[in-house]
């Protein structure tokens, strides 16, 4: 809301500069975006929020400032009362659509220009002057916050000589040509103002072209109404018509204020256009019946942490034009007619706090008993695995939760969650895995980095339900799959879990070099070389990736492993070298050897190479007994079992 400062000063005799007043408003009432100067005129730009619709007017802001500075309010109009013997206009209305509907017939206009001062002020507040009759409705709306609409009465009479005005829901398929010249098809949820021929305005949203006032209009039917805010909101959104009027109708409006605005408009019509009241009709509630709200002195101070007296609270509320009475526990307050936002005790407390000064409220350290907070293994994993990966040279990235159109080319959008109102086609589908997003992040760096390591720990959104995934990627590194598997295995040792790998398929990964990650017989993720075609299209080579479901992992992971005593007897190392054909799985063989005998303390892959199509493997075993020193003879039976296992698994021992 743009407020020309000079206009404001007509209502309240402020002495401070616009900047100082702006600062005061922002500290006690509402955000002030800026105070700017335009042609020597200071203009305040207020960020009016939903609760304070009354501040969408010069008068409303003046009332507020009068309270803040403890000044009197100037020249607020009386509520309109029709002169005696005024012709009665017949109106039909429905209180659910419109709590108050008034029409005033004003006759005898002589064609006149809008005064420059009014034009100037309209422009300052972002409105375009049109003609005197329309400009005055806008001017009064800005001043009092009550939207008004002027119909050309003679045009209505031509359509419907009886001038039977009705506020009703639109009929399905009903059509109206609005002031902007467009033809609008109406829905039953829209409110229309209609005569017997049909709609003459979309209530609260826009008038009809058919009954538009123009230069030369002699008779005006001036409408002031309080429409159902939800209906106005729905209609204006659906039609994409949000006007200064419709915005105000979405907020709370008071009938007292409406009648004051009406009086103001009629006076201005008379002053600038010589119009005289010739008819009046009204249907609905003309008085606000404010609900009293109790303020308990104890509650006031316990919520604010203060020692404010009821006397002080009373002063603040009185300045804000509340009616206040004492009660046993504190006071009872009736909000003024223009405040629709005061319903709870807490609302009153905010009013008192505002005038007391938010910035003067004390700061006190909280003091509570400890709460029972169980250990959170997910947090433990999240923090520790991230730190480990960073320690291993991986840089953490954060990518968007969406798949780009490029990513969708590789993946297809089938099975993905989709937004109904995406910002753009690049942010329409939610990612169900991080793979393509992290590839994209890698590519950002390829002009500078031939190799790199990235990880991300964020939510992914498959249809079955969102979860936190830990995704790591490396590129430009020899043997990417085995290198990354080493990283993964190192990470998993810190979760104190046994994990298995089994060959798997994924369209985006290498058809041969991909495995699922299994913990406690549950699939917790996937590791694989990125399909070479896909890697290439992201300008990457030798790329591998794993994705872990961190939430599944957290179900099994443990902070502490099982401690094994370190025996005082020396370790014995022995290598076992053998050919092992592709098509046989080395992983399970290693697992079997590990659990073969308690003297086997470790099995490590010491060497792996390929010659003439044959895979040659060297496993280095660590033997150690917890009861005595091992001799070569002691190991003989174990050794035989190991070689037996190797042969049974398809291995061929080398000399």
């Amino acid at each position: 809301m743009l407020i020309p400062y000079a206009w404001l000063k007509e209502f309240v005799k402020l002495k401070a500069s616009a900047e100082v007043v702006g600062e005061e408003l922002s500290l006690a009432t509402i955000g002030v975006e800026e105070v700017r100067r335009e042609g020597g005129e200071a203009i305040l730009n207020l960020e009016v929020t939903y609760n304070r619709g009354d501040l969408l007017s010069i008068l409303g802001v003046a009332r507020e400032l009068a309270a803040l500075y403890n000044l009197n309010l100037q020249k607020e109009e009386e509520e309109f009362k029709p002169p005696a013997n005024t012709q009665n206009l017949v109106i039909k209305s429905d209180k659910d659509l419109c709590s108050l509907y008034t029409l005033v017939l004003i006759k005898g206009f002589s064609c006149q220009e809008t005064p420059n001062e009014i034009k100037k002020r309209l422009r300052y507040t972002g409105m375009r002057p049109v003609n005197l009759l329309a400009d005055i409705t806008n001017y009064v709306m800005l001043e009092y916050g009550q939207p008004l609409h002027a119909f050309d009465a003679e045009k209505i009479k031509k359509r419907d000589p009886s001038m039977s005005i009705e506020v009703r829901n639109a009929k399905r398929g009903e059509v109206i040509k609005t002031l902007d010249g467009l033809t609008r098809i109406l829905e039953p949820s829209d409110i229309v103002i209609a005569d017997r021929k049909g709609p003459i305005a979309i209530g609260g949203v826009m008038g009809g072209k058919d009954t538009e006032v123009e230069v030369g209009t002699k008779e005006v039917l001036l409408e002031a109404a309080i429409f159902n805010p939800i209906a106005i909101r729905r209609t204006s959104r659906r039609l994409g018509l949000r006007s200064e009027a419709s915005i105000r109708f979405e907020h709370y409006l008071s009938p007292e204020n409406l009648l004051k605005a009406l009086n103001r408009a009629i006076k201005l019509y008379h002053l600038h256009g010589s119009g005289e009241v010739g008819g009046f009709g009204q249907i609905g509630k003309t008085k606000t019946t404010p609900e009293p709200v109790n303020l308990d002195a104890t509650k006031l101070n316990s919520l604010l942490g203060t020692e404010i007296t009821i006397t002080e609270a009373r002063q603040h509320l009185t300045r804000l034009r509340f009616k206040v009475m004492s009660s046993t526990k504190g006071l009872i307050a009736w909000p003024p007619h223009f405040r629709g936002d005061i319903k709870h005790e807490e609302d009153l407390i905010e009013e008192v706090a505002r005038l007391h000064g938010y910035d003067d409220l004390p700061a006190t350290a909280p003091c509570t008993i400890a709460t029972d907070t169980p250990e959170n293994i997910f947090e433990y994993l999240r923090n520790n695995l991230s730190k480990l990966l960073a320690g291993m040279g991986f840089n953490e990235v954060k990518t968007y939760p969406f798949l780009t159109t490029e990513a969708l080319v590789h993946k297809g959008s089938g099975g993905l969650l989709k937004l109904r109102n995406p910002v753009s086609s690049e942010a329409e589908y939610l990612k169900d895995s991080d793979l393509l997003n992290i590839l994209n992040a890698a590519r950002v760096n390829t002009p500078r980095c031939k190799e790199g390591r990235l990880f991300e720990l964020e939510k992914v959104y498959p249809k079955e339900g969102e979860y936190f995934a830990l995704t790591a990627l490396l590129w430009g590194i020899a043997e990417p799959y085995r290198t990354l598997k080493g990283v993964l295995e190192a990470l998993l040792t810190k979760t104190h879990l046994n994990c298995d790998f089994a060959p798997a398929k994924d369209n985006l990964l290498h058809p041969g070099r991909t495995a699922k990650i299994i913990v406690n017989n549950k699939n917790v993720g996937i590791i694989g070389e990125v399909h070479p075609h896909l890697a290439k299209s992201y300008s990457l080579t030798d790329t591998a990736l794993f994705e872990l479901n961190l939430e599944s992992l957290a179900k099994y992971a443990r902070r502490w492993g099982i401690f094994t005593l370190i025996p005082p007897y020396p370790e014995v190392y022995e290598d076992f070298s053998f050919f092992f054909p592709y098509g046989k799985q080395l992983g399970p063989l290693v697992q079997k050897i590990k659990t073969l005998n308690e003297v086997i303390r470790g099995v490590e892959l010491a060497d792996l190479f390929e010659r003439e199509g044959k895979r040659s493997v060297t496993l280095r075993l660590t033997f150690q007994s917890s009861i005595r020193e091992l001799s070569s003879k002691d190991l003989k039976p174990v050794r035989r079992k190991i070689t037996g296992l190797i042969k049974k698994s398809g291995g061929e021992l080398r000399g």
Binding site: Y50, L303, H344, Y358, A365, T371, N395, P422, C449, R453
Partner: protein, 337 residues
Amino acid sequence: MNVEEIKKHALSEIGEADTPERLEVLHLKYLGRKGQLTQLLAEIPELPNFEDRKSAGIVINTAKEGIETALRFKDQELKNKEQEKLGKIKFDSTEPGKKFAVGSLHPLTQFRNFVRETFERLGFEEVYAPHIETDDYNFGLLNMPPDHPARDLWDTLYLTDRKLLRSHTSNIEVREMRKRKPPIKVMSFDRCFRFEALDPHHSHTFTQFDLLYIDKGVSIAHLKWLSDYFLKQVFGEETRTRFRPKYYPFVEPGVGVDALCPFCKGKGCRICGYAGWFEIAGAGMVHPEVLKNGGIDPKIYSGLAWGFGPDRMLMIKLGIDDIRLFYEGDLRFLKQF
């Protein structure tokens, strides 16, 4: 061999020795447990008369001392030579070290850790709520029924009529109230989403932090203390903050928290948009209707909610000029943290 000959031989051999290892061998040869002089000493008691035993002892011990001195001097000499040699090698100790890959945690992760630690010290517990959320938890139960105009404050991304991408982390509030009994002290540092086109200052994806504290007698004074406590840790002990009224439908009274611009100290500069202050956090006392929706009696309990946007706060703290840097994966940015 008599003593003198042994000594002469020994001194000559020591003189020729050129390594500490050789010296060690010579030490053993003459003075070791089976060394030549040691053996002669062992033979003394076999000498028949006292005078002979006495003089032989003197002679052998003198020789022994002589050899020991020679060994010591030689040892020192070798050490000096070695030291001299080490000092003469061609080497530049200012050459850059061999590269050792170390990664980095994303600045928002590091900030998250910082924020968590800061509030964990006060007994707040990290909680999560779904990103794909129902309209109820995101709006309805937070005192914003359908068609409530205040919903316009959040440009929300919808999946269906009832499912949306949460537009703030405040969706933890009623969820946690329903799960727990007061005192409730929880926090959440997580992602949220809005209908915003990407530009240097706007993002459809961003981070939020939310603090919720419900107990008997919780007040705005506590809120102020917590807010100051945190902002001083982020921007320094001398940081000035101020409270002013701010409307959020799920709090009453509502609070906007400003921090004095750390760059111009309130004078107004380009970074703070010449305001002198940054609007840095939003807060308030949990609205009684929201407490009721969470199954908590507002007559007995009160609560505070406090939150901020970590992306923006970090941008202000570090002078980062484009929010997209957080989400693009450029290592030139990430490696600085």
